[in-house]
Structures are given as C-alpha cells and as structure tokens.
C-alpha cells in the first residue's frame, strides 16, 4: 500500500517548483489553496478580522521569500501553518496591549486547609444540535480570548493547533516547563470561565 503522505508530497512538488521559478500564477494558486485555512488559524489568535487578514498577508509574503529554503521535509500545509502562527504572534506583540485580567483571579480558590473554597459542580450535556454546537463553539472561543495573552497563546497552540510542548516552547521562545505550567493554568482558568454558562441548572 502506498503511503498517502508521500503521495501528497509528490503532488505538491510541481507547485513548489513553479513557485521557485517565480511564476505569478503559482503564487495565486498557493494563496487560493491554503488562504482559507490559514485565515481560520489567524482568527483564533486575532479576533479582530483586519488583524487576522494582515497576519495571513504577512505569512504569505514570508512564505514567498522563504520558498527557496523550503526543503520539502514537511508538508506545505504544515510549513505554512507554522509561518501563519508566527505571523499572528508577531501581530499580537505589535498591538497595543489591553489591560488584562490576572491569571490568578481565574484559578480556583482554596481554603487554608487545602479544600476548594466552592465545590466544583457538574456541567450539563450539550444538546446534540448544530445551533447549540455553534453557540458553544462561540462561547469557548470568546472565553479563550478573555485569558491573559501568555496563557491564551499556549492554550491555542497546545489544545487547538495541537502542537507538542517542545514546538510550542520554541515558537514562544520559552521553556517546556513554562509551557506546561501555563497550559495547566490556562485550562483551569478557561474551565472557570465556562462553568457559569455550562453548569447544570436545577432539575
């Protein structure tokens, strides 16, 4: 049986060759093939549409400049994904910072004896219909955007973009341990933000 990833790489080779030759049509083809996906990634980091589009534009311009050095060890989609994540993070850093909530304020409170100050409550099961699922997705994304930036970025990279700890640490210029600590705190904070909306109501 043939390996599908090798098959896909072979399919990408002619486009890569045309990009290297500087063919105008090849650049347009690349944008049309991957632009929608990259825009969806950028929007997860940058809720303002204009910022997300700027990041995608920056990402493609970087990709065009770097196509010579693209070795083909990775799939084009993986390579472009990494580039747009970097462009989105750069864009985030360049924006004026909004006052942020402290992560500590979003973590559970404990009593002196180590017990939780208020017990965790069960969540209702989401209804299995498209409208509710779409509302739930919007709620989760909105809550993620309320997290402090350093924690939000780790959560997006690890839990949504599904990069591993080392890749996340490298992109963010931090240590693997810092990524783990921030991820755990970000998940706890997100859980706390979701709880009031998702807790079971009175039967």
């Amino acid at each position: 049986m043939s390996d599908p990833s090798i098959e896909a790489d072979r399919d990408e080779a002619p486009l890569i060759a045309r990009l290297r030759r500087g063919e105008d049509a090849a650049f347009e083809e690349l944008i049309r093939a991957y632009g929608g996906r990259l825009l969806a990634v950028a929007r997860r980091f940058l809720p303002v549409e204009e910022d997300a589009r700027d990041a995608v534009q920056d990402a493609f311009l970087s990709a065009f400049r770097a196509i010579e050095s693209f070795q083909g060890q990775a799939r084009l989609s993986t390579w472009l994904h990494r580039i747009v994540v970097n462009a989105a993070l750069m864009k985030l850093r360049s924006r004026s910072r909004k006052p942020e909530v402290l992560i500590e304020d979003l973590l559970p409170d404990f009593l002196e004896d180590g017990h939780m100050a208020s017990p965790a409550v069960e969540w209702r099961k989401p209804a299995d219909d498209p409208v509710e699922r779409s509302q739930l997705r919007a709620l989760v994304l909105d809550s993620i955007h309320r997290l402090p930036e350093a924690h939000r970025n780790v959560l997006i990279l690890r839990d949504i973009e599904e990069l591993d700890t080392e890749e996340t640490a490298e992109i963010l210029g931090t240590s693997a341990n810092a990524v783990k600590t921030r991820l755990h705190r970000a998940r706890q904070a997100l859980r706390g933000l979701l709880e009031p909306q998702l807790r079971k109501g009175p039967e």
Binding site: F27, I31, G35, G36, L39, V56, F60
Partner: protein
C-alpha cells in the same frame, strides 16, 4: 492529598506521567472527594471543547479565502519584488 494538591497534579495524571504511588493517592482522593471528581471531569471537558473548535465537522469549515485578501497579497508581493 488535599484538593489543592489534587489540582496541582491533575495535568500530570491525565498525561499519565504521575509516578505510581502518587497516582494511587490521586485516585484515592477522587473516591473521597466528589467535588474533585467533578473538577477532573469538567477540566477534561474543557480540553475537549477546545479541541473541537477546529475538528468539529460542522464547525467553520475553512472557507474560500476572501477575494480582497488574495488581491492584497498579490499586490504586496508585486510591490516588494
């Protein structure tokens, strides 16, 4: 183990990197503290909801890239060449 320590160890437990002895103490705490059991479940649900954002087949499918953006990128490329 108290609830604070339980929460501290939670991610390592889910990643299955908790040493065996701590793992059994952790699991014993779930049996004696329903609130922490619920905390564990809702923490896992939080992670699952995050993952679903891009894996839900009915979620926002990567749509076509907006025409204006295609033009803007091509124009920016010409300007930098």
């Amino acid at each position: 183990m108290n609830c604070r320590e339980f929460v501290d160890f939670l991610m390592d437990y889910l990643d299955e990197v908790l040493p065996r002895r701590q793992r059994s103490t952790f699991e014993a705490h779930i049996d004696e503290c329903p609130s922490c059991g619920t905390y564990l479940e809702t923490y896992e649900e939080t992670v699952r909801l995050g993952r679903q954002i891009c894996s839900d087949p009915e979620g926002p499918v990567p749509e076509d890239v907006p025409e204006g953006l295609v033009e803007a990128i091509l124009a920016a490329r010409r300007a930098t060449n």
